[in-house]
Structures are given as C-alpha cells and as structure tokens.
Symmetry: none
Subunit: 111 residues, 2 copies
DNA sequence: CTGTCTGGATAAGAACTGGTGAACGGCCGG
DNA sequence: CCGGCCGTTCACCAGTTCTTATCCAGACAG
C-alpha cells in the first residue's frame, strides 16, 4: 500500500505540502509527524478536497472490509491527526465534522 | 553497480565529502571506513537529502528485488553505518528514523 | 425540556517496529 | 588449515502505534 501511495503526486494545498511517496505532510516546511495510518487518512481526505466523505467509505479505504456499527476507529484516528496538525498549525482547521455523516477536508484559517 | 557509482559526482554536504568513484566518505578529512554495502546505503540516502526514503525502496536499491516482511537487513546496515560515522563524528547525526516508514538523510549537529 | 444518538476526549492493554548485540557461514589471504 | 573481514540472520528488548473501552459534551427529535 505504500507502493500505491508512492505513485501519487505531491499535493500543494493552502499551507500544506503532502508527499505521498514519503508519507510526509509538511506545514510551512515543518513536518507534521503523522504515522502511516494517520497519513493515509489525511491524504485520502485531502484528495477529496471540499467533499464530505462518509465514515464507512473512510473505513473501507484505510482498513478494507466493512465498518462495524459502533466502530470508533475512524473517529479516534481523526482526533489524532487533528491534534498533530494543531500542534504545528494552531490557527488552521483542516478536517471538518459533518454530524451523522462523516468528515470533509478543507483548510481554513480560524483566527 | 560500482560502475554507476563511478559516474556520480562528489557530494559535499555539511562536514562530509562523499566520493562515489572511490566508495569513500570523508568526515572532516577523516575516512569513515565504510564497506561497499554500507557506502551504497549511505550514498543512496545522501542523494535524497532531506527526504524520507521508505524501507522497501532502500532494499530494492541495494539488494534488488522485493523486501520480505520482517527482513531486518536495512536496519542492521543502518546501524553499522551509524556506528562507524559516530566514531568519526560523535557530535553529528546523519540518518534519522521515521517510524513505520523508513530513513531520512540530513546532517545535524547534536551537541 | 428531556431522552437518545453521535462524536470528542482519554486511557489501558495488545500488537507491532526498530535498536542492538551476537552468532553463523562464506570468502580470501597467509 | 587458520584467522580476519564481511554480510546475513536471529533473538531480545525498549519504545511506538493501534485497538478497544469508557466517559462525557454536543446535536437532534419529540
């Protein structure tokens, strides 16, 4: 699966640089320090800029298979990614929650 | 493959001089004393300064073929290179670990 | 306003990854 | 033969990450 990521191009969005081949996210040239899972989530959402991705879709994209009811894996992962991004860029929000549906990636300045 | 190395230019980075044609690494004009394999690894990473190189890519570049799961060859080789470099330049770190991903070359003074 | 459902936050144990030292075997020169 | 060098593999361990459970705040329906 890192192989498939390697094929992808570098994404430049807002103050982000996302390098699939290195599994790295750079924010204003600083490394976010995401783990492999975390990167997969973030990159997956980033590719669908501005669109709401449903939870089960996210789950399948990252873990494969069907998401069980009450499985909180996606939520916890989102939480971790948000946290790491906030450390590097406190004044930005990247992942937005859509209640009862899923998440949407779009960089927004908060201040 | 020593042939391909011979074609390459000498790299000057930080306190390093890397001579592909001689398979030699000089640190402040002192020889690191790397073996052929060790040099290949170090040079390969050095050419990708500041970028994270995934383990399987490293493996393929040096041994060819696919890296098996749980193959520790890369790790052990990195360990040996680090050790030899540390003897010559204790106050420098050259190879950084990115957990779950691979390694990144960028010279940093530690002290 | 109240009850119910969804998602945020946190924590504990399991599972995994990488650092490290050493053993093993091949190769070569003496 | 013998000893040293080199590359590979193994085993142990520390540190990191993932999974799962729980508690709680916010959202929504009636």
């Amino acid at each position: 699966m890192p192989t498939s990521l390697s094929q992808q191009r570098v994404l430049q969005i807002a103050n982000l640089e996302i390098r699939p081949g290195e599994l790295q996210v750079l924010i204003d040239d600083r490394r976010a320090g995401l783990t492999v899972r975390e990167f997969e989530l973030f990159f997956m959402l980033a590719q669908r800029l501005d669109s709401v991705v449903q939870r089960p879709q996210i789950y399948t994209a990252i873990w494969g298979g069907e998401m069980q009811r009450r499985d909180r894996s996606v939520d916890v992962l989102v939480r971790k990614v948000r946290h790491k991004l906030e450390i590097v860029a406190p004044e930005w929000k990247y992942i937005h929650t859509h209640f009862g549906i899923g998440y949407r990636f779009s960089p927004e300045r908060t201040s």
